[in-house]
Symmetry: C2
């Protein structure tokens, strides 16, 4: 039987970009903020200086040493036994990120082959059975089953199944099969 397939997002799902935003913000502004300070804000208004996240994401080096999301490596490895895994990142908006993201995946997820990686602009072209993503804009147009991964900017949305971490992803998919 053909395996079910999952499209897994990078930023905010495999890669803990929140932690990286906070680190870069402290480095550049000398202000230490915590993840809780961001909850409920948008990506645009996360920091007092508007558009800071967008600026960081457009800066060379940002994606290269983003911390890996807790438990993500073990979870994706475990899911790879049951599912066809694709890593799908809407990276095309940030051209400088393409090579950084590829290097990051090769370093942190060496068991993921180039055949399983997709960098796109708009995710509505993606055809898998499941999609795990922290962005409503990606999940809302997806034809398969959706899993919303917790992020500060998505706490007010309740129209997708929500998981708070990778342990909950595994529990959710265990129950589904």
């Amino acid at each position: 039987m053909k395996k079910m397939s999952i499209a897994i997002d990078m930023d905010g799902v495999l890669a803990d970009v929140e932690a990286q935003f906070l680190k870069w913000y402290e480095r550049d502004f000398g202000v230490k903020m915590k993840k809780e300070d961001l909850v409920g804000k948008t990506e645009h208004t996360a920091f007092p200086e508007e558009g800071m996240i967008h600026r960081f994401a457009h800066t060379e080096g940002f994606f290269l040493d983003v911390p890996v999301m807790e438990d993500a490596v073990e979870a994706v490895k475990s899911l790879s036994e049951k599912f066809d895994i694709y890593i799908v990142s809407a990276a095309m908006e940030f051209p400088q990120s393409l090579s950084e993201k590829l290097k990051w995946l090769n370093i942190n997820f060496p068991f993921i082959s180039w055949r399983q990686i997709v960098f796109c602009g708009d995710k509505r072209i993606i055809n898998t059975d499941y999609m795990i993503d922290d962005h409503i804009k990606n999940l809302d147009f997806f034809k398969g089953k959706t899993i919303l991964f917790h992020a500060f900017h998505n706490v007010s949305y309740n129209h997708h199944d929500r998981v708070n971490n990778w342990k909950e992803v595994l529990e959710f998919l265990d129950k589904a099969f």
Copy 2:
């Protein structure tokens, strides 16, 4: 009504890589070959030195100045009025090509936005109504309607609708709608 969508391949469809292979072969080996000399060969055996195409495709600079396929710009511009266009390239096998391909698209197809670009490994994740591609391996697993774009390595296959050039793509899609 939602527009129909088309996934358009880059190498061998938008980008005349055959011409580039022949140019690089002459530059490196001093032997001038013609497109007709390649017809019926595979990508592996196209040149007397086996695997030459793969070697060229892995070399920095190869994709940056590939000639545009004849009539491709006008045809894609015209199709953009009727269809949602996505440029889908299996570029992930050639990591050095990602930034070159993006630059090439920006220079030669400036009306294509980053939202319409997809770089992937395996195209079976792609969900559009049509796919235009020169590779059987991409079309055979595609769920929508397939259009095989002529290339030296695909002349013996007849199980997809075939077009020989971009004028024929427009004729084909005109008839279909």
